[in-house]
């Protein structure tokens, strides 16, 4: 599946709009959809279900791509004892890959954005790759060069460090 950078950028902005809308309408949505997974598309609820698998089927039945729909869990009762970060199976990869969406904020670089992370048990450290570096507006000249370069496609890759990042995902 080939995704143009412009399309990725548009999706990113749409997810941010949906996320803001969810936050702004949280009280009303929780009252109505308590205990449900809800699908938000263009700042509207397009489907809801207790079962995330069934919700995905409903989204597909409406002719929507799950990639363009934001999924949230509405709950009156906050999870007090177990924190669960909901991920998803990214089927744009073959075979599909586990992923999670999260906000990343690097205060001193004034960088903030909502990006997708692949869950990579083979990676010792969390890494921002080229696409997201561009989308976030991370400037290489503002970063500290890492002591060692790491290997990637086509050989060694220039590696930098962004210190004091916050990664926030919804529970």
């Amino acid at each position: 599946m080939v995704i143009a950078l412009s399309e990725v950028s548009a999706l990113f902005e749409e997810h941010e709009r949906n996320s803001r809308w969810f936050e702004e309408n949280y009280e009303r949505l929780v009252e109505k959809y308590d205990g449900m997974f809800i699908a938000i598309y263009k700042q509207e609820i397009v489907a809801f279900d207790e079962d995330p698998g069934k919700l995905r089927e409903k989204i597909l039945a409406k002719g929507l791509s799950p990639m363009t729909v934001m999924i949230e869990y509405a709950s009156k009762k906050p999870l007090e004892f177990i924190m669960i970060i909901r991920g998803f199976i990214d089927r744009s990869f073959s075979p599909p890959a586990p992923a999670v969406k999260a906000f990343i904020s690097i205060e001193k670089l004034k960088v903030k954005g909502y990006i997708k992370f692949l869950l990579d048990t083979g990676a010792s450290a969390t890494a921002i790759l080229d696409r997201d570096r561009e989308l976030l507006g991370l400037r290489i000249d503002e970063l500290e060069k890492a002591p060692t370069r790491i290997g990637g496609v086509g050989g060694l890759v220039d590696t930098y460090i962004a210190r004091d990042a916050e990664i926030i995902s919804k529970t």
Partner: protein
């Protein structure tokens, strides 16, 4: 707070297919974060979660 790596590929040394692949690859959440959680992944059940007690 976390120190994250930021990678920059030298696209002049990559083929157009490699560049396309790089630009469609999301960022990576590594073991520095995941080690604090239990990773639950079931493609059959369409379920992915990071859980912490």
């Amino acid at each position: 707070m976390l120190d994250v790596l930021v990678l920059k590929y030298d696209f002049s040394r990559l083929s157009s297919e490699e560049i396309r692949r790089m630009l469609t690859t999301p960022s990576l959440l590594g073991r520095d974060v995941m080690r604090k959680f239990k990773l639950i992944y079931s493609e059959a059940k369409e379920y992915v979660a990071l859980e912490r007690n």
